[in-house]
């Protein structure tokens, strides 16, 4: 074989061929059997080298597992010789192929399991996640239970349903690929979706539930939503890149937060949206108002403003939306007119959060008495000679770490007008 031919083959194996060189290689493989044989030998050698040299800790663990299986179950003659008796073959003698035998363990286990009637699914793995239906391949073997960190692929014959460790259910579409993680920090369950689509029915519980993709992440609490990675066609000649995929999220019920690039989006029940690189972020949808009346009924928020010409506004309220007064969870009936209310909206225009709080006071600190939970701001002297200073009671749990003369902003509570937060008044310094 001449040198250019040889280089062509090896450049292909190293992923370095241009389109023209690839066409040349294909033409040679199709027209010249000797060239095709050389090509096959080079590919085989390349594969053997990778198998020989990439024996890692995982592979050694697999070797150990195989030895155990061999000791426990395998009849010696079947493992030691090929059917035609031409070659002795001890699987434990050649550790470099151990990594390649992951699937062999799986398939062998399937076969063993299939020997007993009424058992058409082998149990070959342990772990907190359970495959309820469908065919799932995890780390090279069909599995009925999955460990944290399992890399899984769903068979192409249909979807698979997995009950996750936190009780939530994930239905992964055919050929979907994912990695199941357990708890991570304050997130009780993390699923990394690598390819395909999945629908999640999330149980209510402590901590968040998060689906991560190359494109963005989706975080939910007590909800049902679906995530799909839609391949984006690469430009001619370009290699596909998962980061170019379109992230499609649809929410059946509840609320999810989609983190995409540097932006966050809220989606509520009944809403769906596509997220992709060229998407222009919408302005944050929040509204802060003080209503003359406020009423939540029939899944809607009814408000009127207190102007001379009162204006009635009705918003849809999302399921699972939160109501907080002074930062604490509260019931709808506790909302009172004259409270300052901040509304947060989903991408589809539903109210997903109502935060009610009191007014904000700014001024210069005259004195602080943490023992009596009182802070005094400097006032304008009155005509009667009094100082005009304003005193505010603080929540007993609050300690004011400010000095006289400091400019501050006091956040008053919606209930009782007590100081619930003290911050430096940055705006005044500007």
């Amino acid at each position: 074989m001449n040198d250019p031919d040889h280089n062509l083959i090896h450049k292909y194996l190293d992923g370095a061929l241009s389109a023209a060189e690839l066409a040349e290689l294909e033409a040679s493989v199709n027209s010249d059997p000797e060239f095709a044989d050389r090509f096959a030998q080079a590919a085989r050698l390349d594969s053997d080298l990778a198998a020989l040299l990439r024996e890692d800790a995982s592979a050694r663990s697999i070797t150990s597992r195989m030895r155990q299986i061999e000791r426990d179950n395998c009849p010696e003659p079947a493992l030691q010789s090929s059917p035609d008796g031409s070659r002795n073959m001890r699987i434990v003698a050649w550790s470099s192929v151990a990594a390649a035998l992951v699937i062999a363990i799986g398939t062998w286990a399937i076969w063993r399991s299939a020997q007993s009637p009424n058992n058409d699914r082998p149990a070959i793995a342990e772990g907190p996640h359970e495959v309820i239906s469908g065919e799932v391949v995890a780390d090279g073997a069909t599995a009925v239970r999955l460990r944290d960190g399992s890399s899984i692929r769903v068979d192409d014959t249909g979807p698979a349903v997995i009950r996750l460790a936190d009780g939530s259910e994930a239905e992964l579409g055919p050929q979907a690929r994912a990695v199941l993680y357990g708890r991570r920090d304050n997130v009780r369950q993390v699923v990394q979706l690598l390819e395909g689509s999945a629908t999640f029915r999330v149980t209510k519980g402590m901590g968040q539930f998060r689906v991560e993709t190359e494109v963005g992440s989706v975080t939910a609490l007590g909800t049902e939503f679906a995530v799909e990675l839609i391949p984006d066609d690469p430009p001619p000649g370009a290699r596909p890149n998962r980061r170019d995929d379109v992230l499609h999220v649809s929410v059946a019920s509840g609320i999810v937060e989609v983190e995409y690039g540097r932006h966050k989006f809220l989606l509520a029940g009944g809403e769906e949206d596509d997220f992709r690189d060229d998407r222009e972020p919408r302005p944050p949808r929040q509204a802060t108002e003080q209503f003359a009346s406020i009423d939540l009924s029939g899944g809607q928020l009814h408000t009127t403003t207190g102007n001379e010409q009162p204006q009635a506004i009705t918003h849809r309220i999302a399921e699972e939306s939160s109501i907080r007064i002074d930062g604490e969870p509260a019931a709808a009936a506790e909302l009172q007119p004259k409270m300052r209310v901040r509304l947060m909206f989903s991408e589809g225009g539903q109210v997903v959060a109502i935060d009610a709080y009191g007014s904000t006071i700014t001024g210069v600190v005259r004195s602080v008495d943490n023992a009596r939970n009182r802070i005094v701001l400097v006032g304008r002297p009155r005509e009667d000679g009094s100082s005009g200073d304003r005193a505010y009671d603080m929540l007993p749990s609050l300690t004011a770490d400010v000095q006289p003369g400091e400019k501050v902003r006091l956040q008053l509570s919606a209930r009782g007008s007590r100081v619930i937060r003290i911050e430096p008044d940055v705006r005044r310094e500007e």
Binding site: P33, Q41, L49, S82, M89, L101, T107
Partner: protein
Amino acid sequence: MADRDQFLPLFIQYEADLRGFIRSVVLDPHVREDVFQECAMLLWRQFDQYDGRQSFGAWTRGIAANKIKQRRRDDRRFPVAFSPETIQSVLDAFDRIEAAAGPRTEALSECVEELPPNSRHLVNLRYERNLACAEIASETGRTLEAIYRALSRIREGLEECIRRKLSAA
């Protein structure tokens, strides 16, 4: 119909050959592993259809070729550069050069041990650490073209070394 007792030893014997065929057609290592796993499952499921009179290696590669063609047909992003015709030509070539694991793999192991230190270092970077040629060029301070040529020469030398050891045996 094949006896299922035969599956595991046969699979182990021809697994490297199957991997070699998939490697020749699918360039992305992660997709390659997926295809291999899918093929292994298919082989297990369809083992009762295997005719023991034909080569087990040829049977496994045929199933792999069909799987790859199907994936290529169903997914335009599936990273296979070859046309179905070329995949068939490569399949035919593998049938001609078929070699089960065993002596060949042992010979390769010995040949790698005999490599000069610089060549062994390059081989380790490429196959043990799974670095791309551009990364190897960056790490060794050599040009990309020099890395291509060096790896090409090393692989050619290893192939020759394997032939020599097998013929001597």
